[in-house]
Symmetry: C2
Subunit: 388 residues, 2 copies
């Protein structure tokens, strides 16, 4: 079965060979989908025939968003904590431990329903690929369970036992690192593609992070790092040294950090939802882009610091606050995310790519930044199947 | 026909006599709608019977948003201008004149379809009352046409012939003020409830603004003012002196301006979408609230400086950037907007109020700020009729 999507007013291919600029923009375009894949991209006037036809009515079509950083396996929410923080009130309760307790107490079915809810919510907003981390279990069984559940929804599963030191190990962080690199890793590795660590004061230092990532790599997991979010630190340099696919957050970077990213294949994944919801200073995307680094934008969806699934929102904030142009932000939210997941089959619309498509209720991809907050999803296809 | 909406997890009534705090919050609540009106509000356990029953399933219910400042009668968009501005490129073309030219060139049917599109888009996001200004016609016929078209969609129509000096009067601004206060007013007054003026350097000074507002008042139009947006100026003081329902923007305020607003019935309507999309400094809502002023939040939806219909987005930005608590922002986007339109039948959920209701896909109104960018509309009723 083939599908011709024609009368596309503006097509973002992210393939410069198909159109103008880094976005590979093509006006008056068409796309042919065969099964799960893109079969043809080009001017509408010269499109081949197909079994079915969809009239895009002059609207903009782009690759589905690739959200390469999300924490979706959790229970409960932290409304009271958010409300207190944004109301200038003291709030001494749990933070991340609140979510750990709720997640441990939840049934498998409850956690699975939550992941499905957020993946579906994201899909309705155009996200066709989403990464999903563990990190709210922090026991062998709860981390493995989180990854088993996540793996039913996405192949991009990330073992984040090293999110924070589990409460049971508050007095023995070294013992917790032993667990994360030992029995917990053994239980989690079969269900994960990636290994991640929160390299930050109060979480895991550079040596601990290195131990976690190298242990994971020995089990075939590919590294990615929560790096330099709250303070300067060794995370970015470690990510680059270990060939991590991505260093995530990158809010506090030295010139050496920026140069290391620019000279590597490690993507700088920026997560403006976190700075938005914590009133923190934003990362400087302009500095990274000007240095030649590859930038991705992702949601960081989690109940504590960034409870959004909206890639469009993150993109609009990145344009407002981080010095990105609308084109750069759209690229970062699609091709950038794909690079951060080392995926070549998503984030681009070229023959052979997976048919993950977002049709906007707008004539241009620029409207994602120009019309902030407005739901602009007109249609979504995932692997060639109409999903929205 | 009566409708019982029950099992409301959290109800925002904006009526302190019905619940806790300024939002009049009520947990485990129910609402009874009879025809177009709210008939009863209270605990779900003591709700009276009704013809129909809707199970809110524990979700949050609040008054529909009241968007008291929007410019919806226009044609074309300004994507290229926005893209250039956000990409740091020079862009010398038209600005507001681009929209004036496109609007004049549009047919009545085209303009009507555009207004319907934006009103519908806003309704899907929970906005049940929207104000709509003229201001892109700037001739007698085009301003009157804009208001005739707007009046078919909302009773809250605002004559804004004094948006900028019409291009034909570039060398004769006094002549344009004569037109705005003369023949144009005669043509527009039958179709408008309000009169507005952009009191700003480059638009209309204090004396001109006073002439416009007093001329409008003589024709029965109620005053509101675009005041102190881009610079300090006389707009706020003039608004208070003339008893305007609202001074809109309020980005640059002296202590005297804040005191004048706090000591008056003039609402300070803040429009964070404009600062978001122009990278301008935000107004200080905290300062106004602490002084005792009434604050409203609105979208300022227009194709040049704030092309959003999302009250939820504006509310989230107000919390992030303007020192508002989530509760204050929700109040400002509902009851505040109603005050800014001198309406007592909307913005509140008390017996007798119009049954304008927004059911969120979330357990609390706080989620409007906690989940930025995520479409949270579960259902909308307008005047008792299910609209979404």
């Amino acid at each position: 079965m083939s599908l011709l999507i024609t009368n596309v007013g503006s097509l973002v291919t992210n393939d410069p060979s198909h159109g103008t600029g880094p976005l590979g923009l093509l006006a008056d375009a068409a796309v042919v989908v065969e099964g799960e894949r893109i079969a043809w991209v080009g001017p509408a006037a010269s499109a081949p025939a197909a079994d079915e036809r969809f009239d895009a009515a002059g609207r903009a079509l782009l690759p589905g968003f690739v959200d390469s950083h999300a924490h979706l396996v959790f229970a409960g929410d932290r409304t009271a904590e958010f409300n207190a923080r944004m109301s200038g009130q003291a709030y001494t309760a749990g933070g991340i431990r609140t979510t750990v307790a709720a997640t441990r107490a939840a049934t498998d079915a409850e956690l699975d329903a939550n992941v499905l809810r957020f993946v579906t919510e994201a899909l309705r907003q155009g996200t066709t690929t989403v990464e999903c981390k563990s990190g709210y279990g922090l026991t062998v069984e709860d981390e493995a369970r989180a990854l088993r559940i996540a793996a039913a929804h996405t192949p991009e599963t990330t073992y984040l036992g090293a999110h924070v030191v589990a409460p049971e190990f508050a007095d023995d962080p070294a013992g917790y690192v032993d667990l994360v690199t030992g029995a917990m890793l053994d239980a989690c590795a079969p269900h994960a593609r990636w290994v991640d660590v929160f390299c930050e004061r109060g979480a895991f230092d550079g040596d601990q992070a290195r131990a976690v990532l190298t242990a994971g790599a020995k089990r075939g997991l590919l590294p990615r790092v929560h790096a330099n979010q709250l303070s300067y630190g060794p995370g970015v340099q470690l990510a680059v040294e270990l060939g991590a696919a991505s260093a995530d957050h990158c809010t506090h970077l030295t010139d050496e950090d920026v140069a290391a990213l620019a000279g590597s294949d490690t993507v700088a994944t920026l997560l403006p939802g976190a700075e938005f919801s914590t009133r923190a200073a934003y990362p400087d995307a302009r500095r990274l882009l000007d240095a030649g680094a590859t930038v991705a934008l992702s949601t960081d969806c989690n109940p504590g610091s960034s409870f959004t699934t909206s890639m469009a929102f993150c993109l609009a904030v990145a344009v407002r606050e981080m010095g990105m142009t609308p084109d750069e932000a759209v690229h970062a939210a699609t091709a950038g995310g794909a690079r951060a997941l080392r995926r070549t089959d998503v984030g681009t619309l070229a023959p052979g790519a997976r048919a993950d498509l977002l049709l906007l209720d707008a004539p241009s991809h620029v409207h994602l930044a120009y019309r902030p907050g407005v739901p602009l999803t007109a249609a979504v296809w995932r692997a060639g199947v109409r999903a929205v």
